[in-house]
Each structure stands twice: as C-alpha cells, then as structure tokens.
Amino acid sequence: MINSRFFNRSELLGFLALAVLLFLILPLSLDIFRLNLVAKYLTYAFVGIGLVLCWGYGGILSLGQGVFFGLGGYCMAMYLKLEASSVANTKIQSTPGIPDFMDWNQLTALPFFWKPFHSFPITLLAILLVPAFFALIIGAAMFKRRVGGVYFAIITQAIAAILTILIVGQQGYTGGINGITDLRTLHGWDIRTDHAKFILYFVEVVLLFGCIVAAQFIRLTKLGRILVAMREQEDRVRFSGYSVANFKIFAFCAAAVFAAIGGAMFTLEVGFMSPSFVGIVPSIEMVIYTAVGGRMSIFGAVWGALLVNFAKTSLSESFPQLWLFGLGALFIAVVLAFPNGLSGIWADHVQPRIDRLLASRKSKSAAGMIADGAPAE
C-alpha cells in the first residue's frame, strides 16, 4: 500500500530535518538580523510549495505567482498602514486619518476598497480570498477554454506586468513605486522590535509546516494523482470523464493561496510591500527557486528558496557583478542537466549511496551475526 502512510520514510526524514533546522538550529545560531533574512527567504518557500503543486504536479507553469504574493502582501500592508495612520499619528496632514501617500496625492477620503481593511478578521480573510478569487477568474477563463502550457505562462506573465503598471501608475491609491511603507503595529503590537521579529519567525515557520502538510495531503489524495495524470496525458484524463479544467483551477487557486500567505508574512517580516515584489522579474525568480529545489518536491521548494536566496545575499554582498552571472548559469544548468533540481540530485545520487551504505552495513552485521552464531551451534 503506497497510500497507507502520510509520509514515507525518506519524506519523514526530510520533514524532521527541515523541522530541526528551522525550529532549532537557525533560531539558536543566527542573530536576529540574519534570522529575519531567513524569514524573508522562507516567504518565497510558500510560493514554491504552491508552484510544486501547480507546476511540478499539474504541469501548469504560472509566471504570475508574484501577483498573488503581492495581493496577499498588499492586503496585509493595507491593514497595517491604516493602523499606522490613525488620526493621532497623521494630524499634520491636510486630511488626517488617511495614509500619508494618499494625502500627498491630494486624496481627501479613503477609497472604498481600503475601508474593509480597518478590520483585522476581514483582512485575514481577504489575504486568503482575494488571491483565490483572482486565481479562480483567471483559471476559469483560461482552463475552460483549454488554454495551457506556453500560452498560460505568457498570459500570467502579462497579468503580472499589468498589475505592476497599475500599482505604480495609481500612486494615490496604492503608494506607487515606493509601495506601502512605514508600517508599525499589528493589532496594536509593535512589529518592528527584535522580539516581535523573533515571534513572527516562529509564526511563519508554523504556517510553513501547515502549508507543507496541506500540500502533502493534496499530493497524496486522488486529486494529486489526477494532477499527475493530467500533466502526462491530458486528453486521456478528459476522456476518462474527469473535468480537467476544474482540477487545474483548483491547483492554480491552491498555489495562489499559498503564495498569498507568503506575501502576507513577507509584509510582516520586512515591514513594507512594493510593486517590485509583484512584477515579472520576481515572479520568474520564484519559479527559479522552485526549479532549483526540484519542481517535484515540496521540501525541495523550501530548500531551493532558502539556498538560492542565501546564495543571492552572500554573493551579491561580496561580488555584486558575479551574482547575475551565477544566477543565470545556475538556471541554465538546472534546466539542462538537473530538471528535477536539488531533490532530483538527492534522490538519484545521494539517497542510493546512503541506502547502499546502510544496506551493506546491515548485511555485514547480519553476516557477523551468522558468523557469531555459527560456533555456538
């Protein structure tokens, strides 16, 4: 029985290794600045997990995950911004009580779509529902008409471009190119202190493991198998009577929700949100993390996000010139030589050796037992 256990042995090991790393090793060994950086990297892991489901399993390459990351992030940022621009904080403005960038752009009243974000529960709901709804519309429009593959990728990329241009252009409503900055408190709790960052890191890791479990659940159910079947032979699945479009829409929406959670956590960790995390370049970078980690592996996506971003930070700190060369070369190498990324290398090269090592030790000890047992007979 394949399905009888939620994680098989190597997956369980991967799960535990990741848990030990994220819950124990990193918080104990890193200072708060670096830990906050790790938290920032991990926000991309949420997107990566979504992409594993939608791209690795479903075969739907979305180049617009930045849209959902951004929507989640902006929802959170709008709530935080409204809290930061209370009447008391903004009394020097010509219209107190609205965010500062609106005041600079001669807006005198809060736009209607900002109003719901006064409430924390509605914000939390919006973080999940707005991107899901958005993904539902895009997905329904495209998959019902059997747009897929390359065309889907290009159209989602165009949507990422559209949203970026819209956010930058509508400065009065969105904060423009600078984004929504100067965020202070979450429900009255100051998020800028080191202590808050420490706690937020753990909140994020817990959420991340929640998403991992959810993704693993989706992967193991019949739904996950249909996704794989669709990726391999879409027509046969359709002829077998499944509604291919609906499954694709579901995978796309799930990926969008994961990305949005990542985006919301990003806003909390980093303290601002701007269109530079929405557009084409960040969206493709998110795909890069997933590809490097392994598009078929949920844990691989987390490792990919961590390692690529770690390499990015350390390389661009010391050799800013080399970083783009390195990233480009990494990407070409992953696509050409290791289509299954790091997890593929692990599964193909490292895992068999470990198994062989363990197996030979076991057989040796078994042989030893026989040898020991023989004289006693």
């Binding site: 180049l63 559209i162 241009i165 493709i284 590809a291 010139q321 783009l324 990407f331 696509v335």
Partner: protein, 308 residues
C-alpha cells in the same frame, strides 16, 4: 474627453498620435517578426529575445563611435553598415545559443523559457560589465534629424519615417525568405511535420539552427532601429519582451501576417489612448484588452490550422 478640442485639432491629434503609433508599430513589428519566427515557427520561448535586440543596439552604438573616430566621411551612411553588423552579431550569437542550449530542449518548451531567462540574466550582466550601467544613445546623422511639416499642425519626425521604411523593407524580405525561397519552404515543412520533413531529406537540425539565427538577427536589426528613437541600456530589452510576446500570441503564433496585424492594432490602441489617459493607464487598458481577447480566442487573431 473630447470637449476641449475642435474638429481640426482632433484630426491633427489623431494624425500625429496615429503616426506615433506607427513608429511604435514599427518597433513592435521588427521585434515581433524575429520572435514570431522563433516562437511561432519553432515553438521556442526565447525570453532572451530582448537581449538579442539590445546587442544589435550596442553594435550600432559601437559602429557609430568607430565611424565617427576613424572615418567621419562615412558618418551619414553608417547606419546601414551598423544594421548589417547588428544582424550578423545577433544572428551569430543566436546560432551559438541554439547549438549550446536550445537544441537540447525542443521537446520541453516550458524549459526553454526558463533556460533563456537565465541566458537573458547573463547577457544583461555582460552588457552592464562591458558597456556600463548607464544608458547610451547614438548620434544621428544630420539628414535623419528634424521633421517634415505636413500641414500647419502636423509634424512628422524623419527618423520615425526612416524606421517605418526600414520595417516595411525587412518585412518584405522576411516574407520573401519564408514563403518563396526554397530554404523558407524547408523551414515551414519542419514546422508542420518535423519527422516527415526529416524523412524527405531535409536536414532539420541545420534548418533549426539557421531559423533561430535568422530570428535573432532580425532582433538585432530591431535593436539597431531602436537606437534611432530611444536610448539603450542593459535592461532595456526586458521592458519590451512581454509586449512582444503578447503581440505574437495575439496575432496567432504561427501566422506572420497575424503578427503584423496585431502589432498594428496594439500600437495604435496604445498610442491613441496615451493621448487621452496617462501613459500607464493606456498601457494597462491595452494589455487588459489583449488578455481579455486572448481568453475568448486563445488561438489568436489568425490561426494556422495544423494537425497536432
């Protein structure tokens, strides 16, 4: 929206915006032609297409500098030399890339997208290291500057007209190559049925390499033309790549005629809207319209019927 303008003013505005749209149209067509050959004919998503274009632009810039320093008497005509050099440089790089990268990925179109994105990052950084991060602009020869006064209120810049003439010429040449030359027939045969084309004796690998080179070379010419109406920076190519892909997809991927029709409608819509709205809103509305139309008609305006 129309209240403040008289009829003749509106006519002049429409004519001038229409012309601005035509220049945009020319740039789109030049970029999209190369991409239509690579994406439409070969099915390769070349995200580095913009960088091939920028290579052409840098070649033009270098030629203009070299000609100014060594042979100033050649300066009025340097542009033609530059264009040929741009075509050769981009085409050669394209063939090299096809040999090293693309030919391994024909069966995995989505992966060509990722690999060429990596290539575009490398090329961008290479341009930045070699030519510097600042934007460069070429000096135009005297005969290209100034504008032609059509009527009292309508002015048409000469470099724009030159770019348009160039676009028409290149389009004709591309159509000739693809639809009348025997090599073009081979290309189309490979597109429609690769196995069968190989079976009747066409060297499909060679055809692939030259087709990719041709597409990239045209991108180089597009970059060369681009220097005449704008300045060139290391990341300028990325600004156009999404637009160009939309032009090709909107026109119907395999149809060159569709590419031209869609470049025309997109550029005209955008430049006309730009006058009445802000630039960014014009772009948003144009792109949204394209995406909406593509959702209704995913195969684009002109679809080629091929058996899959």
């Amino acid at each position: 929206m129309f209240g403040d303008y008289s009829i003749s003013d509106l006519g002049a505005i429409l004519a001038m915006q229409g012309f601005a749209g035509l220049i945009l149209f020319s740039v789109y067509v030049l970029m999209a032609l190369g991409l239509a050959i690579i994406f439409g004919q070969m099915g390769v998503i070349n995200m580095a297409h913009g960088e091939f274009m920028i290579l052409g632009a840098y070649v033009t810039w270098m030629t203009s500098n070299a000609v100014q320093h060594t042979a100033p008497w050649l300066f009025p005509g340097y542009f033609f030399i530059a264009m040929i050099l741009a075509f050769i440089a981009s085409g050669a790089l394209g063939m090299l890339v096809e040999w090293a990268l693309i030919r391994h990925l024909y069966k995995r179109p989505l992966d060509t997208l990722l690999a060429t994105w990596g290539l575009s990052l490398i090329l961008q950084q290479a341009y930045r290291s070699i030519f510097g991060a600042r934007e460069v602009g070429v000096e135009l020869p005297e005969w290209m500057m100034g504008s032609w006064q059509a009527t009292d209120s309508i002015q048409i810049p000469i470099n724009g007209m030159f770019v348009m003439a160039l676009t028409i010429l290149i389009t004709i040449v591309v159509f000739y190559i693809l639809f009348w030359s025997s090599w073009g027939k081979q290309v189309r045969a490979v597109v429609q049925n690769r196995v069968m084309a190989g079976a009747v004796g066409i060297n499909t690998e060679k055809v692939d390499r030259y087709t990719f080179g041709l597409g990239c070379g045209i991108a180089g010419i597009a970059g060369s033309a681009f220097t005449m109406i704008g300045s060139t920076g290391p990341t300028a190519g990325q600004l156009y790549i999404v637009d160009t892909f939309l032009v090709v997809v909107f026109g119907g991927a395999a149809s060159l005629f569709g590419t031209i029709a869609s470049a025309f409608s997109i550029s005209q819509t955008q430049s006309t809207l730009e006058f009445f709205l802000s630039g960014s809103m014009a772009k948003v509305i144009t792109l949204l319209t394209i995406v909406a139309i593509l959702m209704v008609r995913p195969q684009g305006l002109f679809a080629l019927k091929v058996r899959k």
